[in-house]
Each structure stands twice: as structure tokens, then as C-alpha cells.
Amino acid sequence: MSTLNKILTIISGVLKILFGDPLDKNKKNLTISYLIGLITGRGHLFRKSKTITIEFSHNKEISVGIFHCAKCGQLVTKNAKTKVYTCKNSSCQKTYENSGAKEYNAVASTRLSLNEVIIPLLKSEISANFIVSGNNATTLLILDFKDNPQLFEEITSCFEGKFSFDSFDIPKKIHEASYDEKIEFINGVLDTAGFSSPGGWLNRDGVSGHGRMRAYFQIVRNWSITVQIDNFLRKYFNLPVQTIDWGHPNIRDGNLVDFFEGKKTGSTREHQIKFFPEYYTIFKFRIKYKADMLSELAKHNSSCVFENKEDWFPPGGVSRVKSFHPDEADIRIPQQARQHVNAFWQVNYLMGCEYLEQLANTAKSKDLFFLTGNLTKLGDDFEKLKKEYEKTSNNLYNELSVQNAKKSSTKKLKITKADELRFLEKDTYPILTREIKSYLETKYGEPVEAFDTSSFNLNAFLKNQSLIEAYDHCEKFNIKVDIFAFLVKTKRIVFVESKITNLDVKALGQMIGYCLVGQPIEAILVSTESPTASFINLLTANPKILNYGNDLKIQIATLKNKQIRFEKI
């Protein structure tokens, strides 16, 4: 090495010692941005134990790619009724008994990608203990930072005191990050919340092929970040989004099919931000099967040659008025969007889409713009039009109700024993809600709110009632208690489980599980049947099984004559 080179090497080394290697720092920032993306997509923060858990879901063990016709190369799809695969090319229409699509083992691929690519990448810049766990539906990556609490604080501080992906916003740090760091952030979100399944293709004709493939971000229970991601992709990368399929009843269940089949939760599913993969080539999946499937989708679209970007923005207006849906006021929908809508972009607007806000500011009437998508008309007819739309909406609902009433009257109703018990158990909830509220208000001398939460996941319920701010363990509640009570002043919680059969160790065990997680100040296991002598005997011999915390234990009670009577154990 020449003398000059030697000198330059020494100077470079000294500068790195003093100021750090900019390349190293850059690599660390990229890695952290990727990790923040993973967390934003599906992460859980456990501040006490300094752990971060990230979910990689793969609901089906085997994912299937695109089936192209061996004869003409066009798309082949399966008829749901006949189960026969048919080429979509009208000049070909070749049929197949079995699928010729490539299969991917999602579980194995996820684990392999984690062990061989993602963990080594993260480990190279992040000092933590990495553990892989999970089941066939979800693989969990657990990062234990107990030996590196400073880095844990640095990463988790981005999320501004929130605990879980279903309440995160895109961190400010990412908005302020470099272009490449923003790309890594999206890569992280894709690896956890992105999916490239060919099942969601659009019925479109390209220049030389049919069927336009879409990939999507699947956003669970987080309405705000859905529109934030759309705006982020638009703002920093100028990328189109084809549509946002909101888990709003008017969007997902516009014809009330789920509703009339009694599927109450059908209208509050996940949101899907759908995009055409050929425009998103700057990003990449590190989960191999997802990357391979995305590549299939992009190749297919490129070979079909689609010329229209089909960006949802600017919106095309409101094509039709939808039926009223009884779940429009569901408390699991955030306040802003808890109303009737006729188009998905209206939900975008309600959830704070910057682009729609800017567009609305150019409208002659903002109200009319929201109602119809029209920018140029004045709002003189707004009230009249709004009433017309409401009338149409209600009429549609009445028609659907009549149609479905006819259908269900011809169905033979099958009530199972479980249904009977469920029905009777449900009868106890209003009484218990009232009695528990009264009991707690008397005991603690402060206002109490009590709710029947038997149909809700407690986490989702608390979030939408704005009670989640009051209780920092709420993020961990993915459980259903029958009655949930909340002491308003001191912000403490109470669980009640109701049974209409004799209490046993099994019932106690269920409640113990909930209480060990939730740590309510009181937990009451109540039945309409008095406890049996043998159950009392067992509890007397083993009182510790009632304990779930420091001086916290489950109370056994009986509901008789609409009053709660506590058993002395």
C-alpha cells in the first residue's frame, strides 16, 4: 500500500473513532427503520419486561400462486360450484381437474426467512435476544431487550406511549427519516401486514391478458393508520393505491348478507389497502414466499399490459346509495367513522385523509362534496339531497328486511342445548350490570360504569370507549368477560363472569386466566345456581386457587331473585 493510502487509512480510522462510520450509522438507521416497520405492522410492546413481540401471520399453511393455462398462458380460475378450473381466455377455455399453480409453504418459509434473513439482519445492528415461537396460524418473533434497556427505550419511544399495532400511528421519526429509511419502514410493514395472494384479482382486460392482480396491506383494528399509510405512500413515493376496502358495515356488508345471517362481527373486519404490485418494485418482502408470490403477481400484470394506474384518488363520486346498516353505530367503529357512508373514500375522508381534505377545501360546498363527491355545485340543495339519500337508504333496508324475513321463516330453526343455555345466560347480563354498578358504587363511593361485554373482545371494546387511556394493561386484553365495570374516578376495573349451571373448577379456571392477565380490583364468578357442597369443600381445602394477585381473589356469588349474594369461603 502506498504511503498516501496508508495515511488516508489512518486518518479515516481516527475520524471513524471520533465521529462514527457514516456507513455504519446509515446501516443501523436502515435496520432500525425496518424494525419500526415490523412493529408498526404487527408489533406489541411490553415495557415492563422490555420485550417486543412481532406477529407474522399465515392463516393457511399452504399459499397458492397464479394458475396460468398451459396452452395459451392466460389466467385459469376455479368455478366454486363445479370445482373445475377453466382458462379465462374465451378463445381457449381449456379445463383442468387440478390446479397447476405453484404452492408455497407459508409456515416453513416464514420461519426460514426469520432464521436465515431477518434475525441475522436485525442482530447485525441490534443487540437483543431473539426467540421464535408461535403456531400454524402465526409465527412470533420475540425480541428481549432486558440487557439493552436503552435501545428498547429508543425504539419504543417512537410509538408515543402506545402498546400495540392496533393503535399505532406512523412514527414521526419515520416521517423525518431519509428516503431509504422510509423504504425500509415500508418493507417492515409489508413483511408483517402485507400479503400477495392472487385471490383478490380485478376483472380487467389488459392489452394482452385478463385479470389484474393486487397485493394488499391488511390493517387490523387500526382505522387511523390505514389512511396514514395511503397518504405516506402517496406523499413520499407518489404511488397509487387502487382502493381501501374498509371493515365498515356499509363497505363490507353493503347488502346486509352477513347481518341477516347473524354474523355480527362480519362488518368490523380488517381494512385492506390494495395496490398493483408492478408500481411497488422499490419495496421488497424479506419473507421469501411473500416475495415469490409478489413477483408472480407483478409478472402477470406486466405481461397482460394494463395501461391505467387506477388510483382511487381523486375519488369518482358516489355511484349508488347503500342500504342503512344497523351496525353503522357499532362502538367498535371509531367516533369519526361511526355513521352511514355510500363510498369507501368517504371513510378515508372521515379518518383524516390529507388529500381529500385539500380537495374538499376547493369544493364549492364541503358538505355536498362529502355527500356526492361533487366539487362544483353549491350547497343549496344539500339538505334536500341528504334527506333523499337517507330515505333511499332506509327504503333499501326495509326491502332487504322483508326479503330476509321471508327467507328465515322457511328455514327450520335448530336450537341447540348450547343455544338455550346461551340465551338464558344472556338474560342475566342486564340484571348483573345493574346490580354490579350499584354494589360497586356503594362500596367504593364513586361513579361506576358497567357494561355487558359478552360479545366483544375486551381490547377492542376498551379502545373504542376511550377507556384504554385509563388503563395501561388494556392492550393485553384479548379476552371476553361477560360484564366489565369501570370505577370512573380511580380508573380501576372489575370483571364478572356469569353462569347458569353449578360452578366448578373449570369455570373457576377460565376466570383465573382472565384475572391473571387483567388484574381487576374485583372479580366475581356468579351463578344462578347455588354452589354445591363439594365445590365449597374444594375451595375451603384449597383457598389459594382463588388468588390472582396481591390480596386479590375471585369471589363466588349467587344471583337469586335479581340480587347478588356473596358466598363466604
Binding site: K506, G513, I545
Partner: protein, 176 residues
């Protein structure tokens, strides 16, 4: 119980029996191993009847093994519950109650589907894991049953620190 469930219980109980043997012999001798069809209080077992308060044991674990410490002569119980579906807080709470009642030496909760995703996430937090699984000076172990190899996958074991324990039995079974 369906034939499928019966077969699963039998396979798991054989594996569990071997685990108990591997872990506790020669300090302990195995007196009895069973998959009871009634609550423990009503099982006609001379060994069970030697436990204090056995008559209050009005519950039925899927598998139990009775051990005796050769030196002290003290009897102890190992229990296991199995589920066909993904394990939830309900199953964990249930086994925790049973474990505390019998002061079990080993408690194992097994399912071919492992834990539910929500429970997996809860258990990834050490504090919550300790609250859910620890009892007295012991801990419940949770694992996924592999229907192909007829054993619990050691990489599925929670708490994570106990994976090497299961590795031992799986390795020695392989050698056989």
C-alpha cells in the same frame, strides 16, 4: 370421547409417561399412570387415596402419573391436559387450578395446535408469563404436539428456558 381424541390422548400419555420417567428416575419410582374417566376424587386408586384432601379433587385431568420419592417415601403427582384446539387462557387457568390443588411436580398443557395467537403474544411478556404459568415453586409447561413424530416439539415449549428439557426426551426417544 371420539376415537380420534382417544388415540391422541393415548399417544400423549405414552409420551408423557416417558418424559416423567426420564426426568425423575432414579430418585423417584413410578407407581401409576392413567387417563382417568372420572374425577380424581372418585378414581378407585390406592395410590391416589394416599394424598391429603384427595376426596376434594373434584376435577379430571386428562393424564396423571403418581410418583414416589424413594428416599422420603413421599408421593407426588404429575398431570397433563390436552386440547384439540389452540390453547387459550381458559385451559391455562384450568390446569393452573388443578396444579395448585394437587401441588403437582410436573404440569404440562399440550395441543396439536399450540397456543392461540393471542395467548402466544401474552406469554411472550415475561411478567404475564410468570403470572399465568407459575404456581408454588413450579411452572406449567405448554407445548405443541407433533402428530407426525408423536412427540412435543421442543421448539414450541413455553417457558422458552425449558426447551432443552424436552429435547432430552425427544433425543432419547429417537435413539430408541
Amino acid at each position: 370421547m371420539s376415537k380420534q381424541k382417544k388415540d391422541l390422548t393415548l399417544e400423549i400419555s405414552n409420551w408423557f409417561f416417558n418424559l416423567v420417567k426420564k426426568l425423575f428416575e432414579p430418585e423417584y419410582v413410578i407407581l401409576e399412570s392413567a387417563t382417568p374417566s372420572s374425577i380424581l376424587a372418585k378414581v378407585n386408586s390406592a395410590h391416589l387415596k394416599k394424598f391429603d384432601n384427595y376426596s376434594s379433587w373434584e376435577f379430571r385431568p386428562d393424564i396423571y402419573v403418581v410418583l414416589k420419592n424413594i428416599k422420603s417415601g413421599k408421593q407426588e403427582l404429575c398431570i397433563s391436559n390436552r386440547s384439540d384446539s389452540a390453547l387459550s387462557l381458559k385451559e391455562i387457568g384450568e390446569l393452573k387450578c388443578y396444579s395448585q390443588i394437587v401441588e403437582s411436580k410436573l404440569s404440562l398443557l399440550i395441543s396439536p395446535r399450540g397456543t392461540s395467537t393471542e395467548v402466544g403474544i401474552l406469554l411472550s411478556d415475561k411478567d404475564t408469563q410468570d403470572r399465568l404459568l407459575k404456581f408454588d415453586n413450579n411452572t406449567i409447561l405448554i407445548g405443541t404436539w407433533d402428530e407426525t413424530t408423536k412427540q412435543v416439539q421442543s421448539e414450541s415449549i413455553i417457558p422458552f428456558g425449558h426447551r432443552s428439557l424436552i429435547d432430552k426426551i425427544n433425543v432419547s426417544n429417537k435413539r430408541k
